[in-house]
Symmetry: C2
Subunit: 354 residues, 2 copies
């Protein structure tokens, strides 16, 4: 991109993002994103890609919520900061998604804001794509029986993404809210897979009957796990995406203790993910290592594995850049001259006319 003082900021609204997805087809977008993420992990160099631990505000007023910032930088090129709100009462009280996010992309040559994107759908897509990358390496060959615990927005992209890397034969789902569970079928109807809803007491039955399990709940701190331990297939692979804060836990401890845990970002998972509950020696290869040495980890397909997905800022950078590129190719989105700068960089008042 040309570096000049009048460079504008690209703005991609929720509607622009949806238009891009609609134009290209949601399957195609997800496949593209899975490929991009896999490529980014394959070439991931921690000396070049920096993603410091996220931090945030946690509060109980005016609503129970969490507002976090997740920065990532590819050295010499670009930086992104996703700000993500997690307000579990949004859906029922306000008709809003519990996870709402925006991503800002900066030019590290000058500090200018290159782009601002609504990242609510992007977050759901990239979280799905990460599970797809992990599932593709760690799950038994298909066709699969898939279980879903927690049937909110993330559950849609989890199932969808898994279906892009393995044939899915049938789906069993569970949610503590019967209304949310009941509407899941309609929301994933486009996948055309037989979906059975079980009630919360059916957790062990669900567990016993699946090859891949996704836990994507809004579990509160200290309120986990979200299912009881029980019999399961020896090769069960779990994508655990709901634990993303100190004290959160989705899986029962005995299950974690007999699994190989594969964190997305180990330093973050030890603090916020399922990894916080086990001894360090239970923690296996991280997602980038799995992708880089895929064939070495083939044997993991026959044992219990857990992808500890806390959400990695690198994923947000990858999905933001994909959509910026697609928007530019399709001519979608708008621009704003947010940072028009005066001719004299030493005069802060140069733009002001009395």
């Amino acid at each position: 991109m040309k570096k000049d003082v009048s460079r504008t900021t690209a703005v991609l609204t929720a509607e622009d993002i949806a238009t891009i997805v609609g134009l290209r087809g949601v399957e195609h977008i997800l496949d593209e994103l899975i490929d991009r993420l896999r490529d980014a992990l394959l070439t991931f160099d921690p000396d070049r890609v920096h993603s410091p631990a996220r931090a945030g505000f946690q509060y109980e007023e005016p609503e129970v919520g969490l507002l976090e910032w997740m920065p990532a930088m590819e050295l010499g090129r670009v930086a992104a900061v996703k700000t993500v709100g997690y307000h579990p009462r949004n859906p029922t009280r306000k008709g809003l998604p519990s996870v709402m996010a925006t991503t800002s992309v900066y030019d590290t040559a000058t500090g200018q804001l290159l782009a601002l994107l609504d990242a609510t759908l992007l977050t759901a897509l990239r979280t799905g794509a990460a599970s797809a990358v992990a599932t593709d390496i760690l799950a038994v060959d298909g066709p699969l029986s898939v279980g879903v615990i927690g049937c909110g927005a993330q559950a849609v992209t989890q199932l969808h993404a898994i279906s892009r890397v393995r044939p899915v034969e049938r789906v069993t789902v569970l949610d503590t809210d019967p209304v949310v569970a009941a509407s899941y079928n309609r929301r994933v109807a486009f996948l055309d897979r037989p979906t059975t809803v079980v009630n919360p007491e059916g957790d062990t039955r669900l567990l016993a009957d699946v090859d891949v399990l996704c836990t994507c709940t809004s579990v509160d701190v200290g309120k986990g796990p979200v299912l009881r331990d029980g019999e399961h297939r020896p090769w069960l692979h779990v994508n655990a995406i709901g634990a993303d804060f100190p004290g959160k836990q989705e899986l029962p401890l005995p299950m974690l203790e007999r699994a190989v845990l594969c964190p997305d970002l180990p330093s973050q998972c030890r603090v916020e993910g399922e990894s916080q509950w086990v001894q360090p020696d239970r923690i296996g290869p991280d997602l980038a290592t799995l992708v880089k040495h895929r064939s070495s980890y083939e044997p993991y397909r026959s044992v219990l594995t857990v992808f500890d997905s806390t959400g990695w800022a690198l994923e947000d950078l990858v999905v933001a850049e994909l959509f910026i590129e697609l928007a530019s190719r399709e001519g979608i989105g708008s621009t704003v001259t947010l940072q028009r700068t005066a001719t004299d960089p030493f005069d802060p008042y140069a733009l002001i006319t009395p």
Copy 2:
């Protein structure tokens, strides 16, 4: 504000900000901001206003730079994250200000983005306002002889802000870049104060001759101090705003050691400011304490004081809210429906039409 799913994001561009300032008059805006900041400090309650330590990326490619995020939240009401780039080569290589910033304001009830503002002028204004608040409490009564070391963009708002709390009789300035020093007079011509430029070897002469000194340099890590120690008036007050990173230093150590240091945010100043160079017992009251107990600190007017201004996210929240309010009152700025959300918060694909 009404909490509904179609709420838009207010966008205030650099031009909008300049228009607001032009409409109200730059003096009036600065007075308003100084008042607001003083009020925020007077009522500052660390249990209600949270501003965790800022963090950032520091890099040497593609340019020497720093990109930092500065979050602040007033519990129960609102949160803001300023992202600020510091690229010291911007002015000479790109014709851009070295400090470029944007501020995002979030609703902590839902996580929605309420407003996005260019914060380049806002940063210069709030840094000036903070120095004005400190100077008003700590400097000798006017009329003052004011010194300025480092004549970039911040030097304009520093002098301007000081002139709002004390009569300024004359100004002496110094910059290592003679071109920047030479243009300062023109940039502060609106203040109509006799301004003398001295060359860098004149640092001790400048020091000896002023009541208030502002150091607002782009000093590099490990390259300070920016002036030599020397004779000065016993009541000298210094606003030191250039040290804002570990290893940065503007003032000579003996001077710091005989001064009372007043940090803006003590935890941050001990890591990034002039406070990092002295023993903890040299660090005096912080800015909020000074404002709250103003009369107790009257005696400080007769001794050497240093306002250690690293830049506090609370100041960014105050200036952002002031401009959002003024924009709304004056009908300036635009809105974007960034986060339009579908009717079903559990369906991430609801907005997509194939």
